[in-house]
């Protein structure tokens, strides 16, 4: 009877209080009791806090107990005291808490829903959802959706995400329950510290490393542009490419071995300005996840890592705009709801660099002559757009679009009047490259245990070069006109259709599976037209490849101590009548021997069917993607990693070791060959292998006014190719033995943020000629020929730099403004970008180092309204 009354009360309470967070349970208390009854302990808690307990003596155990808590949240104190005695609690109106026995029913119900940002309504990824008795936990997925299967009883859930205030909710489960939670930004509460109240003993290591939009925006910037790839470079196990570039070499892999996804769709070239900026506009990025090892079976197609970028869905509450002015680019972002019901949201963002406009202004200064024919310039732009409609909380449809282009142009236009002739010439060369992506995603919850995601997408990378030449010589009596035009296009297009299913087998087990079909189209076309010889040459080559894949992954948590994620992906790749099959097992096991410690190990087997052929070492856009075919087997890799993580309330420390073997890697033997044909037979490749191994350490502080992380990687990275370096093993270009990075954010109040990033690493490897000899060329002239002995035989000096940014925020009634001032490489360290042999003023041979980035100050202004 007693229980029935309380059940009724609590069910009633559930309706009113289900989604509410409870400040009462958040209050922190310190308590030390020795040999007291449970009733006495509860009385003491009443005296320390503002709560009142209601219970009957029948449920109280007989015996004396000792407890000790220091500055712990009341919810944690209660959970730990009561669960030992098969008791639970429920929050009633006001400050009353009811103590009652745990249900003995075997019946279980599902709690599921979306976690959103309270300010914008944006779905949040990677939120830890934890039942307060510590029995179950889960993470919100890429759509902000979570699901937990719990016993029919009073349950208390916490929702935690870094930089958001932890929210609590209490529910009495009598049926499957939908529970949507909105997390509040710490700053909106004028609380200038990050909250981190999750019980460390309950958290398992998440798949991959998440960088939220907030963290990304705090990163120091180059030329006023914050860049998520620069943030990734600061993580353990990630080796930056050349100074200032966005290349990320993850655990010994090369930059093209990263599967870079924008809303589940791969991007082929993630950079602007020859690799110095990424294509990701920080205003539209919601979350970035880096997976270095033990990747889930749903990811396939690249050898080394996954960089999974999610874009925002748009503000659900009001239309907002952001205008950002940087040193080299500006951007405008507008997002908000459509319609009164606010079920549809949109985002539109555009960014453009204006180096060419500034330059044009300078070049148009009068020079005193009419002939100023030569003009050149460079600019990039990108456009992000997304529209999302919520049919219900169980069904969402979104359409996203991305277009990015880099354009270099050189033009030479002039008119000369030389009586009786007028000569006009127009000469123009345009080089452009960029990605285009469109994706339609349909996320639907089929029932409380089953949800699905269907998507169709098209992603394209194009590199083109167009030249045109027109000349006319006219007089009163004659007209001579000649001209020519040519273009060269390299194009890779992938049409992707995929379906993923997620099924909750049991409260602690989940099965995910999916199928994927991708049609790849590689095209290389050339056209030349000449009005002098009346010649037209047109050539094009098309190669199609088909990729079918299916995966299944099972993950389970056993008593919150053992987590297993096991899966397998099967792929068939078919190109130019050559099929390749690949079966890639994946395993990720975590074990918690102690409350604060997690041991983990992972194994992954991967294959890469698309190869980026680079004719240079800095990642220029002329790099070409080629499919596997008869002469080019897929690149394969096996990686095993393991380590442990210690989690404390404000800190976490993780140490990992990894060993990765890569086979069938390709390298262009005929270096310097620029026009790489997509017909592989024409290219000269060397096939080789790679080995990378090392240790990683990461110390992270997520809470407090001062937060950030420090990472250190000790690694070795070798390559071996037939025909290169006499077939001997040589160090990879980015074989940096030591890699230390540190990111610190200081947030003294809501108006100021300061951020510092310091990176230090062993220098990258490079190859220099060590000997020369002199021989005659075909014209009987003597030429000095360089002799190279070993590949990557020398090392750049120690690399280090410090970047600083201070951001000032002004909050006004109708808008918020943000001024960011910073400097890249603030102490002006000379970090060589490359080294070349040269001749000095005395005519002697010497080596010359060139650095691209001295101390570069930057200013950035943003207004949000």
């Amino acid at each position: 009877m007693f229980r029935a009354i309380f059940c009724i009360l609590i069910v009633f309470n559930c309706y009113l209080n289900a989604a509410a967070q409870s400040p009462l349970l958040e209050q922190r208390i310190s308590l030390q009791v020795k040999q007291k009854s449970l009733s006495e302990i509860l009385s003491q808690i009443e005296s320390l806090s503002q709560v009142k307990f209601n219970y009957t003596d029948k449920v109280m155990p007989k015996g004396l107990y000792s407890v000790k808590f220091k500055n712990e949240a009341l919810s944690i104190v209660l959970t730990q005291i009561l669960q030992k005695h098969a008791l639970t609690y429920a929050l009633m109106y006001g400050q009353s808490i009811v103590i009652l026995p745990l249900s003995k029913s075997d019946k279980r119900y599902t709690v599921s829903g979306y976690v959103t940002d309270d300010n914008t309504g944006e779905k949040l990824i990677g939120v830890t959802v934890l039942s307060r008795n510590g029995q179950q936990s889960t993470l919100s997925n890429q759509d902000g959706f979570y699901t937990l299967s719990l016993p029919a009883d009073s349950v208390h859930l916490s929702f935690n995400l870094s930089a958001y205030k932890t929210q609590y909710a209490s529910v009495f489960l009598t049926q499957n329950t939908a529970l949507n939670i909105a997390l509040k930004d710490d700053y909106t509460e004028y609380k200038y510290t990050y909250s981190y109240q999750l019980e460390p003993q309950s958290k398992l290591k998440t798949e991959g490393y998440h960088l939220s939009a907030k963290t990304l925006k705090q990163l120091p910037v180059l030329f006023g542009e914050s860049d998520l790839m620069k943030g990734i470079q600061l993580l353990a196990g990630v080796n930056a490419g050349s100074d200032g570039t966005i290349g990320a070499n993850v655990r010994g892999g090369s930059a093209d071995q990263n599967l870079i996804l924008l809303d589940d769709v791969p991007l082929y070239n993630p950079s602007h300005i020859y690799g110095f900026f990424s294509v990701f506009n920080s205003d539209v990025v919601k979350d970035v996840k880096l997976i270095k090892g033990g990747m889930n079976a749903r990811y396939a197609g690249r050898l080394s890592s996954v960089i999974d970028v999610r874009s925002i869905d748009g503000n659900k509450k009001a239309i907002k705009a952001q205008l950002s002015l940087g040193l080299i680019a500006s951007k405008l972002t507008i997002d908000g709801p459509i319609g009164k019901q606010k079920k549809t949201t949109f985002v539109a963002s555009a960014r453009r660099s204006y180096i060419d406009i500034l330059r044009k202004g300078l070049s148009e200064i009068p020079t005193g002559t009419d002939i100023n024919p030569f003009k050149s310039g460079y600019y990039f732009y990108d456009i992000n757009a997304k529209i999302k409609h919520d049919f219900s909380h169980k069904h969402q449809l979104s359409l996203s679009y991305y277009l990015g282009q880099d354009i270099v142009f050189v033009k030479n236009n002039f008119t000369i009047k030389n009586d009786p002739f007028t000569i006009r010439q127009k000469d123009r060369q345009d080089v452009h490259w960029g990605n285009q992506l469109i994706a339609l995603r349909d996320h639907h919850v089929i029932n409380s245990r089953l949800s699905g995601l269907f998507s169709v997408a098209n992603t394209t990378y194009r590199f083109g070069n167009q030249t045109s030449f027109d000349y006319s010589k006219t007089s009163d009596t004659s007209v001579i006109k000649i001209g020519s035009a040519s273009y060269n296009n390299t194009y890779v297009n992938s049409l992707i259709s995929q379906y993923h299913l997620e099924y909750a087998l049991s409260p602690n087990s989940k099965l995910t599976s999916g199928i994927n079909y991708t049609n790849h189209w590689f095209r290389n076309s050339n056209n030349y037209q000449d009005s002098i010889n009346l010649k037209t040459i047109s050539q094009s080559k098309n190669v199609f490849a088909h990729e079918f894949s299916a995966y299944m992954a099972f993950n389970t948590v056993v008593r919150q101590k053992l987590f297993v994620d096991a899966g397998c992906v099967a792929i068939q790749f078919f190109s130019e009548q050559q099929p390749y099959n690949s079966l890639q097992p994946r395993l990720n096991v975590q074990y918690k021997p102690f409350r604060k410690m997690t041991l983990h190990t992972a194994y992954q087997s991967t294959a890469q069917f698309l190869h980026m052929v680079s004719s240079n070492s800095i990642g220029l856009p002329i790099d070409v993607w080629l499919p596997s075919n008869k002469s080019l087997a897929p690149e394969t890799s096996r990686q095993i990693s393991g380590g442990f993580m210690l989690q404390f309330p404000k800190y976490s420390i993780s140490i990992d070791a990894f060993n990765k073997r890569m086979n069938h890697l390709i390298e262009l033997v005929s270096v310097g060959k620029q026009a790489i044909d997509i017909s592989n037979e024409a290219n000269q490749f060397s096939i080789g292998s790679g080995l990378a191994y090392g240790y990683e350490c990461m110390i992270e502080k997520k809470a407090g006014k001062l937060n950030g992380w420090m990472s250190y990687t000790l690694s070795w990275n070798h390559r071996q190719f037939e025909g290169i370096n006499q077939g001997q093993v040589f160090p990879y270009r980015y074989d940096r033995r030591h890699n230390l990075a540190c990111l610190l954010n200081y947030v003294p109040n809501k108006k100021i943020e300061a951020s510092a990033a310091w990176a230090m690493s062993s220098g990258a490897r490079f190859t220099i000629p060590e000997q020369v000899y002199t021989v005659q060329n075909g014209n009987q002239q003597w030429e000095q020929i360089y002799l190279y002995s070993d590949r990557n035989n020398y090392q750049f000096p120690l690399y280090h730099r410090l970047d600083l940014t201070v951001t000032f925020k002004q909050y006004h009634a109708k808008y918020t403004s943000l001024l960011s001032i910073g400097a890249y490489n603030i102490y002006n360290q000379f970090n060589p970008f490359y080294i070349q042999s040269s001749i000095n003023a005395q005519g002697n041979n010497m080596f010359e180092a060139v650095s691209l980035f001295p101390c570069i100050p930057s200013v950035f202004y943003k207004i949000q309204f």
Binding site: N465, G672, I768, Q776, N777, F833, S837, F847, A849
Partner: protein
């Protein structure tokens, strides 16, 4: 395409600041280097040198203490070349013949090296016509149309085309006549179809791969005024070269094209000397002299 690449690289380099650095390069034992052409009906003349450290600023190192044994294809010794001066070795009696195979045994730096090379067959060269044209609409070029004969139809043959100009240089009251190799321009697909030949316009390499008949009419042109100096005469040289020479020169020009690019490691040279760097190459040439 290469222009774009260079533009991209140069625009990156435009940002850079430079600093001389000291790198202690490893010391290697010097290796023999051979260089020379085997021209029919001419005395043999070749040069032996040595590899040296890139930081050695003393100039090229030549080997004078070596000697060369010249054999025919049946390994009959024809002559021994010795007494090198500035690394040059010259035959005193024997003149190689066209379409013959020779073996060379080279001694120097306490090492031995071998070269196996065949002197190519003869060729015919005939001037057909000369004219002038406007190249790229503005520059005046001199065009030479010529006929290349004795081209084997069912057998691979390799050629090299060079243009050397004679121009006046006036220094006060002195007038000097100087010679200079110039870029060979052509709109003939036959002359430009092989991508490997595009790295040096001063020595245009070609094969008979797409030549369907012999003789073949070809045309080349070169600027009349270069660096402000007027060309007074042009020497057109067409050489029939061996396969080793074609491979060697094409690899050399590609190497030199990328030699100073810091982002690339240029290819090695495809020499025909075993045990030494460099090459001894069979060349059979004909020349036409044109006064402008």
């Amino acid at each position: 395409m290469r222009n774009i690449y260079l533009y991209i690289v140069l625009s990156v380099l435009a940002f850079g600041c430079k600093r001389e650095i000291v790198i202690n390069v490893k010391n290697y034992e010097p290796q023999m280097v051979v260089s020379g052409q085997i021209v029919p009906d001419s005395f043999l003349r070749l040069r032996i040198g040595s590899t040296q450290s890139i930081t050695d600023n003393s100039g090229p190192l030549w080997v004078n203490s070596g000697f060369i044994e010249v054999y025919d294809k049946d390994t009959n010794l024809l002559e021994v070349l010795s007494n090198g001066q500035s690394g040059f070795y010259q035959s005193l009696t024997y003149k190689p013949q066209a379409n013959r195979r020779y073996l060379f045994k080279l001694y120097g730096l306490n090492r031995t090296a071998w070269v196996d090379e065949t002197v190519p067959d003869d060729l015919n060269l005939k001037l057909i016509d000369t004219s002038s044209l406007l190249y790229n609409s503005s520059k005046k070029h001199f065009k030479i149309q010529f006929e290349l004969g004795q081209i084997p139809v069912n057998q691979a043959a390799y050629y090299s085309i060079q243009l050397q100009r004679t121009y006046q240089k006036i220094n006060g009251s002195d007038t000097q006549y100087l010679k200079q190799y110039v870029d060979v321009y052509s709109s003939d697909l036959i002359l430009t179809e092989d991508a490997r030949t595009a790295f040096n316009k001063k020595d245009l390499l070609l094969t008979n791969r797409i030549i369907k008949s012999s003789p073949q009419l070809l045309s080349v042109h070169a600027p009349v005024i270069l660096d402000g100096q007027v060309t007074t005469a042009l020497d057109l040289t067409v050489k029939r070269i061996s396969l080793s020479a074609f491979d060697y020169y094409s690899s050399m020009y590609q190497h030199l094209f990328y030699q100073n690019n810091p982002f690339l490691q240029p290819n090695a040279l495809n020499g025909n000397a075993v045990g030494a760097y460099g090459a001894l190459l069979g060349v059979n040439s004909r020349q036409i002299h044109i006064e402008l």
